[in-house]
């Protein structure tokens, strides 16, 4: 009342136009808090940018590969002495038989182009080539025996150091300490590029191919382990989604509230926090040592990852079931729907976006998991062949993408280090795709009404 009268008389006692000390203090603390928030986000973004830049910077070269294109004379006297083109006989000629052909072809090609060759031995010059080059030629010949006797143009892998030279990984200074390659090799390589015999292009084999032995990084690819990961994800999805959703529906909607369900609830929460390597050793003991499932198989990997993913899916499914308003359940029960009808007709569709998001996040987690795979033998195994069917896809030894990356990062050759980064790009691509699918699904289901 007194304020009212004073405002009529002129300036009010507590003018709103003047900020008092207390308000100033509160405003200042709010501004500080906002600044902390912005700072935290900026720091996070910094890390993210650093991460992406370093991954892309290190990994992108892995997608490119230097190739040497030369004509190779497929001498009949070396490759098929009998002249019968009988595959069984021709298979007896190993890659060692092809090696001189390839080496001589390289020498001849240089001579033809007039590139100076200071090496007396063809073997020394051939260090430009990958040691898998003879095998490349052999595979082509065995696929098509009629090529024997002809001179065929081949696109052969360059050695990892030559490859590294063009990607800036190998410098001339570094070669002084390297017994494998001389500066002269690099001169020849430069000349070959100028002559159009050598080029660096996109390498599809890195994405689609199989892993290679330690000394041949230029041949290694992530394709087979990608298939291994795919089969594992199929196992994880087919097991963890139905089991997880069924378990959560039971616990959330049907189970009585008593100490047993409380105990189960606590344990599920705890399981979500169990280190993944523990699941690995459990899988080793149960699936391999007890159930005698094959080692290193995606089936076993999938089973182990299912155990790991289940708590995540159960927790997120229960959370989304809880988020469905109880009035919907009442509505359904009130018009005589059974408990199960009310859950499956009304509650579950509303909880679907949350369930799907949880499932995909669980799957993404499983896709990137390495530790449990260490223990069931999916690391260290060189998966050299694509599985030749669905059954063998599940049961034959294979690797998985993160395991393959770990394996490459472990190897000494810097060319493998580069491949590890490249593998990470592919893995991140998969994870991002899955997250985008999760977002799209969530939007789509939410947009229904």
């Amino acid at each position: 009342m007194s304020d009212l009268s004073s405002s009529q008389n002129g300036a009010p006692k507590n003018s709103l136009l003047k900020v008092d000390a207390r308000t100033k203090k509160r405003n200042a603390s709010e501004a500080r808090f906002k600044a902390y928030g912005i700072g935290a986000i900026a720091l996070g973004l910094c890390f993210l940018v650093t991460l992406l830049v370093s991954i892309l910077g290190n990994g992108v070269p892995a997608f490119k590969q230097t190739f040497i294109t030369i004509p190779v004379e497929l001498t009949e006297s070396k490759l098929d002495k009998s002249g019968t083109r009988d595959l069984e006989v021709m298979k007896k000629v190993t890659t060692f038989g092809y090696k001189p052909l390839v080496e001589n072809a390289l020498v001849a090609a240089l001579e033809k182009e007039g590139i100076e060759n200071p090496f007396a031995k063809a073997k020394d010059l051939a260090k430009l080539l990958s040691s898998s080059a003879p095998a490349q030629v052999r595979d082509v010949v065995l696929d098509n025996p009629n090529l024997v006797g002809q001179t065929v143009e081949f696109r052969l892998l360059a050695g990892s150091r030559v490859d590294g030279y063009f990607k800036g990984r190998v410098t001339r200074d570094a070669l002084a300490r390297d017994k494998n390659l001389d500066a002269a090799h690099l001169d020849i390589a430069d000349a070959m590029v100028a002559a159009g015999m050598m080029d660096t292009t996109f390498n599809a084999d890195f994405v689609l191919g199989a892993d290679a032995s330690e000394s041949r990084p230029e041949q290694a690819g992530i394709g087979v382990s990608m298939v291994g990961s795919l089969f594992m994800m199929i196992v994880v999805l087919c097991l963890s989604l139905p089991i997880g959703v069924a378990a959560s529906i039971y616990l959330e909607e049907f189970a009585p509230q008593n100490k047993w369900t409380d105990l189960i609830e606590v344990n599920i929460s705890n399981l979500a926090a169990v280190p993944s390597i523990v699941y690995g050793i459990l899988g080793l003991a149960v699936f391999i040592q007890f159930a005698h499932l094959p080692q290193s198989a995606p089936l076993v990997g999938g089973l182990v990852l299912t155990l790991m993913t289940l708590p995540t899916i159960i927790i997120s499914t229960r959370a989304s079931l809880k988020a469905v308003p109880p009035s919907i359940r009442d509505a359904a029960l009130g018009i005589g729907a059974s408990k199960m009808q009310s859950v499956f007709h009304h509650v579950l569709p509303l909880a679907m976006p949350g369930i799907l998001t949880g499932t995909i996040i669980g799957l993404a987690q499983a896709l990137g998991e390495t530790a449990p795979l260490l223990l069931i033998g999916m690391v260290g195994f060189i998966a050299s062949n694509m599985p030749d069917g669905i059954a063998s896809g599940f049961l034959d030894p294979n690797s998985a993408m993160p395991a393959q990356i770990y394996e490459w990062a472990k190897r000494a050759d810097p060319a493998y280090y580069e491949r590890a980064w490249g593998g990470i790009i592919i893995l991140l691509g998969f994870l991002m795709t899955m997250n985008i699918i999760a977002v799209i699904l969530r939007r789509r289901f939410e947009r229904r009404w």
Binding site: P256, Q257, P325, S327, I328, R329, D330, A331, A332, L333, G334, I335, G336, A337, S338, Q341, H345, H346, L350, R448, W449
Partner: protein, 265 residues
């Protein structure tokens, strides 16, 4: 107790739909409903009034066993619908709820189309033999719910997109679509504005022709307007039950009088 005397005086035994005898409800250790005896007539609107927390909603939810969904809730005593004890072991609550429909305090349409909201009950109970049958049921129910004219052009629009009052009438239509014999309404107008309330009240009056309606309400004016019988609950007891006019003009119990005159509650 004097309320028993009133019941005996007012209700003829031949058209009694629901009779409750010595009903006790416990929530854990709390004794929420004490010794309630009441007989509800067929084709009548019966109002339950009383201050908040007096147990009127709890008792209402006993009549179609919605309390079964609450783990800690225990009901004893005897509630008979047409002479059959609904708490008998052989009674399936799902079947009971098809016979005793319910409308809730907050409008709660399913997040589906208007048509599917109404059709859901008949579908799960197998009331329609063909699509045309179902269309008929939907139209009839929406007409009974006094909402047909407003929604007939957008039956496939979401039910959640209607206004609050329309949603509540949709929920009433949904409840009558399963052809219940009793309709329980738990404060059906508490979330509605006066105009929507008036519409719903008018509707309740029309529903009386086919159903016996039990309505819980906070508003004594509403009870006076729509009901023929009124029961007054206080602290878990049924204090007084009788003709609405009599309860409001000449209550027998001093507690009823204090509540009606605004001294308690």
């Amino acid at each position: 107790m004097n309320d028993m005397r009133i019941v005996k005086r007012d209700v003829e035994m031949n058209d009694i739909k629901i009779s409750a005898k010595d009903v006790q409800v416990y929530y854990g250790d709390t004794h929420a409903i004490k010794d309630v005896n009441v007989e509800i007539k067929d084709k009548t609107v019966t109002a339950f009034i009383g201050p908040s927390g007096c147990g009127k909603s709890t008792f209402l939810r006993c009549l179609n066993r919605m309390n079964d969904t609450i783990d800690i809730c225990r009901v004893s005593g005897e509630i008979k619908i047409e002479g059959e004890d609904i708490y008998d072991k052989r009674v399936d609550p799902v079947q009971l709820r098809a016979k005793v429909g319910m409308v809730f305090q907050k409008p709660n349409p399913f997040p589906k189309s208007i048509y599917d909201n109404i059709a859901y009950g008949p579908r799960i109970h197998g009331l329609a033999r063909s699509k045309a049958d179902l269309d008929d049921i939907v139209e009839k129910s929406l007409r009974r719910g006094a909402i047909w004219d407003e929604v007939k052009d957008r039956l496939h629009a979401p039910g959640t997109g209607l206004s609050g009052g329309q949603q509540q009438r949709l929920c009433i239509a949904r409840a009558v679509a399963t052809e219940p014999e009793v309709l329980l309404m738990d404060e059906p107008c508490s979330a509605l504005d006066p105009i929507a309330t008036a519409q719903v009240e008018e509707l309740i009056d029309e529903l009386r022709e086919n159903f016996s309606v039990v309505i819980v309400t906070h508003s004594m004016q509403q009870a006076a307007r729509v009901s023929q019988k009124t029961a007054f609950f206080h602290l878990g007891n049924l204090v007084e039950y009788g003709e609405t006019a009599q309860i409001f003009t000449n209550p027998e119990d001093p507690r009823t009088e204090s509540y009606i005159t605004g001294r308690i509650g």
